[in-house]
């Protein structure tokens, strides 16, 4: 049943699996991406990138390049001094965090291989690239800081000369007395390594900056998920009035968190447009994407779990070391992932004692920052690996040990030792559902039978708790200009349709689809009469946009309440026309009806009257049919969700290759607005998680060179290697909103790698082998087996 209306109506859309209205347009090749934007007098930018991971910049010779045909300017770091204020990726609630200030192009040294150093602006991209070949730079190589151990060594070279060491941020969480908890009881330990990987969006980063000096207006067309954030950044750092900066995100071909960070190229392109007073376009090619898009993960986590002989978990201790590149990303910082790792470890379980240390190091690699499921896959894999090891020690089934240790239904609201508060989770319900849908006993029987024949299958499960619907507790309290509220403007058009402008954004996941469903149901008209506009700071209300799983939960609630307001407005006008009480009227199927549902007047007739014959309205009745509403979550700081994954794999012990046979997810994202889209989110997320588990890794050589920055060498998961993914839903709506929706964007990624890690280790266990590093490559599995 719908949360919103009780009336029988065909305009009951919340909970229906409707296809995305924009999908057909994109499939037909009629998408309009940033690179499709062509403006009069537009120039193109190309960047010369550092071949060295760590080097001092000497003289830069640009005269020959500047003389090349079609070239308008060759810019270096010095050209941006005075027009662009530096940026520093720190937040005040991360105490003691520090990071080096950044400028569009470097003045004195480069800190990662691939860092843009010189920018050529020309009539075409090809001409700009021709000119780049004639730029000469004297580099003086410095010793690079590459791996985690090297970064933390006492005599390590320092990347930031003003800092005492390579530590960017350090924190400790301590609850209870873990040392005592580990005395005289059972314990297991892990030392897990998680490789760096990156987003690999189908559409790379792209922007067109267009500065108009006559109006002192800057318009930036940009492939991003957070246009309001970039509006604020460009205004503040270039000294422009925010009201004169407009950021437009047209169709965006995937983002996954990667496109909400500020990149040096962004600032260089905006700065170049200001300097040249012409539109300037830059679109990263695939090599540039690998060399400068944010990377993610890169953790080494040592942890141990204390438990009783009956399987009851007592305490966890954690030491997480992560390397984030040469500085902290802006404006969200590079400390968030580690922070979420150490706060989410152990989250689903009853634990009294918990202690975690986090060390965030700088290194001469691409900057690392938030990417889908920030921290969750690390926390999940560490926790669930510990739980499986404890189960093995006690000869308990993995389902049974979890059942005995979950936070129970009578404990909510529940506060974790790391400080998170859960309104209500459905851990046991999801566990039982997974047990059923996997047909777990039959899988175990099959595994045993195949083992006799030398076929090594493994079954793994992993529970996750996911952070969604964030309040300003995430960024705002730390001083970042990142909104946690959303705005929605609804207009009943003269034709009786609804135009919706909302501050959440669309990158292919269906934000516009669910908003349309909510508004159509909330007002009471056909879905195809609601048009949703997103992604333009000039024509939509300011808000948080899309990140951290907030679109459905916060944006959806905003849309619902805005729809209520518009409905009230329509009914007020209708009541005046019909000489009825507003309370006796309703809107169903595009018409104002009596309480019993019989139609009285269509929305088109109401709109026609309000717009064209307002003279017929009684005095004092406003003809306004546009409403605005903003909503900010005020209850729990975050709406936590939960779920569980199951993984079935087969390990070829001769080759080290793993066939992923099947994957299951039981998830609870509260009220499901569109089950098709939730399933799509889960499937895409699972595939990204399995990519991390088996394929994706940004590999670096000793000198800090990225060794596999191409689609040939960086292995993304592809359809042939992916299993069927079975998804089931449990719904525990949040009571913080009327809609009751929470996020589901991270749920697929959060636990798929952890489940796969447990599954592979389950397959290897009888052979006495253990894998402790992601991705689980053939080489690593063969080494674990002692074959090589």
């Amino acid at each position: 049943m719908s949360a919103v209306t009780d009336s029988p109506s065909r305009t009951r859309y919340i909970g229906q699996g409707l296809p995305r209205p924009g999908a057909k347009r994109l499939l037909a090749g009629r998408g309009r991406y940033t690179d499709d934007v062509v403006l009069p007098r537009m120039l193109h930018a190309a960047f010369l990138r550092s071949p060295y991971a760590h080097a001092r910049l000497g003289s830069i010779e640009t005269a020959d390049a500047a003389a090349m045909p079609g070239v308008h300017a060759v810019l270096t770091g010095a050209d941006f001094v005075g027009i662009c204020a530096p940026w520093t990726g720190t937040l005040t609630h991360f105490k003691g965090m520090r990071s080096a200030p950044q400028m569009p192009l470097p003045a004195d040294k480069v800190v990662w291989a691939g860092q843009p150093v010189v920018m050529v602006i020309a009539e075409s991209r090809a001409e700009a690239e021709d000119a780049l070949e004639l730029v000469g730079i004297d580099f003086e190589e410095l010793e690079p800081v590459v791996d985690l151990d090297a970064a933390s060594a006492p005599d390590a070279p320092r990347i930031d000369a003003d800092a005492a060491d390579n530590v960017l941020f350090r924190t400790r969480i301590e609850a209870g007395d873990t040392a005592r908890a580990f005395e005289g009881t059972w314990s297991v330990a892990v030392d897990l390594r998680f490789g760096r990987h990156t987003a690999v969006t189908m559409e790379p980063r792209s922007l067109v900056a267009d500065y108009d000096p006559a109006e002192e207006r800057l318009t930036v067309h940009q492939s991003t998920q957070t246009p309001y954030q970039f509006q604020d950044i460009y205004a503040r750092h270039f000294g422009l009035s925010e009201a004169r900066v407009r950021v437009i995100a047209p169709d965006v071909g995937g983002s996954f968190g990667m496109k909400l960070h500020l990149y040096h190229e962004d600032m260089a392109v905006v700065g170049a447009s200001l300097l040249l007073k012409r539109p300037v376009k830059f679109t990263a090619d695939r090599m540039e994407a690998f060399a400068s898009d944010i990377h993610a993960r890169d953790h080494r986590v040592r942890a141990r779990l204390a438990f009783e002989g009956d399987g009851r978990m007592r305490a966890i201790e954690v030491d997480d070391v992560t390397g984030v590149g040469p500085f902290s990303a802006y404006p969200r910082t590079s400390a968030v992932e580690g922070n979420q790792v150490v706060r989410l470890i152990g989250a689903p379980y009853r634990l009294d004692d918990y202690r975690a240390d986090l060390t965030v190091l700088v290194q001469n690699k691409v900057q690392m920052s938030q990417y889908r499921a920030v921290g969750h896959p690390i926390a999940c894999a560490v926790t669930e690996r510990l739980v499986d090891l404890a189960a093995r020690e006690l000869d308990l089934d993995p389902f049974e040990i979890r059942r005995r240790n979950y936070v129970t239904d009578d404990m909510y609201p529940h506060k974790t030792p790391s400080g998170y508060t859960f309104e209500k989770l459905s851990l046991a319900a999801c566990l039982d559902r997974l047990h059923d849908v996997m047909n777990y006993p039959a899988l175990r029987a099959e595994q045993a039978a195949l083992r006799e024949k030398g076929i090594h299958r493994g079954i793994g499960i992993a529970t996750y708790v996911e952070i969604t619907n964030p309040t300003p507790a995430f960024y705002g309290v730390g001083g970042a200009h990142i909104s946690a509220q959303d705005g929605c403007v609804l207009k009943l058009t003269p034709s009786g349709d609804v135009a919706c402008a909302i501050s959440i954004t669309e990158q292919g996941q269906g934000s516009e689809a669910i908003v349309g469903q909510i508004v159509a149901e909330g007002v009471g008209l056909d879905r195809d009469r609601v048009r949703v506009l997103t992604g333009d700071t000039e024509t939509t209300p300011s808000g948080g946009a899309t990140w951290a799983c907030r679109g459905a939960g916060i944006g959806g609630e905003t849309a619902l309440q805005a729809a209520r307001k518009l409905k009230e407005r329509i009914l007020e006008i209708a009541a005046a026309i019909l000489q009825a009480e507003t309370g006796s009227l309703d809107i169903r199927d595009g018409a104002v009806t009596d309480a019993d549902g019989s139609p009285r007047v269509t929305l088109t007739e109401v709109a026609n009257l309000a717009y064209y014959r307002s003279d017929l309205l009684p005095p004092g009745v406003s003809p306004a049919l546009t409403v605005a509403h903003h909503f900010a979550p005020r209850g729990y700081p975050f709406a936590f969700t939960n779920g569980i994954h199951g993984s079935l794999v087969e390990v070829d012990t001769e080759t080290g290759l793993v066939r992923i046979l099947k994957h299951w997810v039981v998830e609870d994202c509260g009220r499901v607005i569109n089950p098709l889209l939730v399933d799509e989110q889960i499937r895409g997320g699972v595939v990204q998680g399995l990519g991390a588990a088996f394929f994706e890794e940004c590999r670096y050589g000793e000198t800090g060179q990225l060794l596999n920055g191409s689609m040939t060498d960086y292995l993304v998961p592809m359809a042939c290697e992916m299993p069927d993914i079975v998804i089931r839903h449990v719904e525990t709506p949040t009571k913080d909103t009327e809609l009751g929706a929470k996020g589901c964007g991270e749920a697929g990624t959060a636990a798929s790698s952890g489940a796969a890690l447990n599954a592979v280790n389950d397959a290897l266990q009888p052979l006495g082998a253990t894998v402790s590093q992601l991705p689980m490559t053939p080489e690593r599995i063969l080494r674990a087996l002692g074959v090589v």
Partner: protein, 292 residues
């Protein structure tokens, strides 16, 4: 990622192609399917002055029987190699190999001649040519010559083709009864370059292996024959014993390098595993691998 400016000329005959090459004052490249050359241009790893598009030379097309040989034109697309009935009848390892080669979009454009002229040791067709005992037909200003595949590959991305010459076809000797062949590889994803691949060709006389030709990909700078393993098979019935002997002998044949994802030891191990699997499959019977 934009190529440097270059001139482009489309030709319709081999003579016209050779003339265009000779007339070019700078560097020229022949362009067929473009699946390796065009990325190299876009990455500016290569920057010729002239591209000579040979894609419309009809004489370079077609798969036919000519005497004792199966002749496969240089412009044969991988998709045709995958589905050709003549190839299935006479050189089925090529059908099998084509199924491992990248993905349909690339197979629709990439060509036999292009792959062999590039001579990437990790790709499938070079190893197949050595295992099949094929010869490579090369046409140049001085006429046409045929070079045995064993003599054709010189080093990493280097062959006996001289500047201006054109790979025009390959000639695969027709099998006789008792010939068994198979291609297989071990790759992390379908369509990737293999961690190791093997083209195996056995000539059996009754139960005995008369000759064995084994050519590996991705274990050295060129497709690599395994003479010690071949010798271990020759003159014996194909069975557990001879397969074990061939696997043991392989250490004398291969000395693969490590790369950043695979150690030399692991690659050697995988080559041995693959050899065992391929020979076992061939030993299971002629199946579809029996040549006509």
């Amino acid at each position: 990622m934009k190529a440097r400016a270059f001139d482009y000329r489309r030709v319709t005959s081999v003579a016209e192609a050779l003339d265009a090459y000779a007339a070019c004052m700078g560097e020229a490249r022949y362009l067929a399917g473009g699946q390796s050359l065009l990325p190299a241009l876009n990455l500016r790893l290569d920057a010729p002055d002239l591209l000579i598009d040979i894609g419309r030379i009809d004489a370079l097309r077609g798969i036919s029987i000519e005497g004792d040989f199966l002749r496969i034109g240089a412009l044969t697309r991988h998709a045709e190699t995958l589905s050709s009935g003549l190839i299935a009848a006479h050189a089925p390892m090529l059908n099998e190999a084509a199924a491992f080669m990248a993905h349909p979009a690339i197979r629709n454009l990439g060509t036999m001649g292009g792959s062999l002229a590039l001579a990437d040791p990790a790709s499938e067709l070079p190893a197949c040519m050595r295992a099949l005992g094929a010869s490579i037909e090369i046409t140049g200003p001085a006429g046409t010559r045929n070079v045995a595949a064993d003599d054709y590959f010189r080093d990493l991305f280097e062959t006996v083709i001289a500047p201006g010459e054109l790979l025009s076809a390959v000639r695969v000797p027709l099998g006789r009864p008792g010939t068994r062949m198979r291609f297989d590889e071990i790759a992390r994803r379908r369509g990737d370059y293999a961690m190791v691949g093997l083209a195996a060709h056995l000539a059996l006389a009754g139960d005995l292996v008369e000759t064995a030709r084994l050519a590996f990909c991705a274990v050295g700078p060129t497709p690599t024959r395994a003479p010690a393993a071949e010798a271990a098979l020759a003159g014996r019935p194909l069975g557990l014993e001879s397969i074990a002997a061939a696997k043991a002998a392989l250490a004398a044949d291969l000395a693969p390098d490590a790369d950043d994802t695979l150690s030399a030891a692991a690659r050697m191990h995988l080559a041995r595993v693959l050899l065992g699997r391929v020979l076992s499959a061939l030993g299971d019977g002629p199946q579809q691998a029996e040549a006509a």
